[in-house]
């Protein structure tokens, strides 16, 4: 059976939006429960950390370049460089490294 690409896209979009908008619209009051508050406080750090490693090392052509960029990113972020600065430094660093590696 030949299916319609636009219906495929519509189905994807409807599911993606529902997942994102339900908690935002349903949870409108500040949550008082201490466990849930603590859990949600930790969620972003854990989620982003899980997504960063080892994916960052696997994203570059040469894994060593990704690994070194990871170390550089941690150091620069530790000393307070902002979002754009850290991201751009990692890109440039990988570009330079991969010219030699």
């Amino acid at each position: 059976m030949q299916r319609n690409m636009y219906i495929y896209i519509l189905v994807m979009a409807a599911v993606s939006y529902t997942i994102r908008v339900l908690p935002l619209t349903l949870i409108r009051k500040p949550i008082r429960n201490r466990f849930i508050r603590s859990f949600l406080y930790y969620v972003p750090y854990v989620t982003l950390a899980v997504m960063t490693f080892p994916a960052m090392v696997q994203a570059t052509q040469n894994p060593l370049a990704g690994a070194l960029a990871l170390v550089l990113g941690i150091v620069l972020a530790w000393f307070g460089l902002g979002l754009f600065g850290v991201a751009a430094s990692c890109c440039i660093f990988v570009f330079i490294l991969e010219c030699f590696l």
């Binding site: 896209i9 500040p30 960029a69 941690i74």
Partner: protein, 248 residues
Amino acid sequence: MGNTEKTKNGQEYLAGTRDGIPIALGYFAVAFSLGIAARSIGMTPFQGFLASFLNMASAGEHAAFTSIGNHATYLEIALVTLIANARYLLMSCSLSQKFPERMPFYHRLLCGFGVTDELFGICIARPGWLNPFYLYGAFLISAIAWSSGTALGIMMGNLLPFRAVSALSVALYGMFLAVIIPPARKSRVVAVLIGLSFFLSYLFGILPGLSALSAGNRTIILTLLIAGGAAVLFPVRDEQMEDKENAA
């Protein structure tokens, strides 16, 4: 709405656009490779643009495109999208706490479009309550880059030099680091959690059985485990939470 508030919203919008630039760059590179996948299942550039603009999800779109290539049913596409994107449910719960209760409802509806890994990351890094215009600024520039990157990938395939793609591909992760590392400097618990997350994420990727999990599901399981465990062992003190309310 007074003039000062309008000015403030404008400033927040510009700040969002500025912080959205590295996201947009990274998105563009990733979207380009997503476009190559979309091309292989017969999508037109317009369809790729539309799919990316409406979904804003790399793993979710990639999984769905693969299934479409295998002539999946509409129900299967819905399920694949749900599983690959389920982590946004958690992020959205977390983000709901960054908005004041009195914020107009339509802002919540609009912000729903903008819950992506990266936009969520920079929103959480904003001190105090989140002004939705900050998210709009970051969303618009990154959504345009994401969608047009997909369309261009469909049109041009492999024209971008691989070295440039490789370099751009770390932009997103560099940004994640800029979000999670500064709080780790202030809180030893957060620092340990980040190290533990790195380690377990690596372990889940290589252990037999567990490595069959998709990256999206790995993220969900590890987030529930680690953040849940931390919430039991190290419940956050109220004064830590109140930083937010005081700054608002």
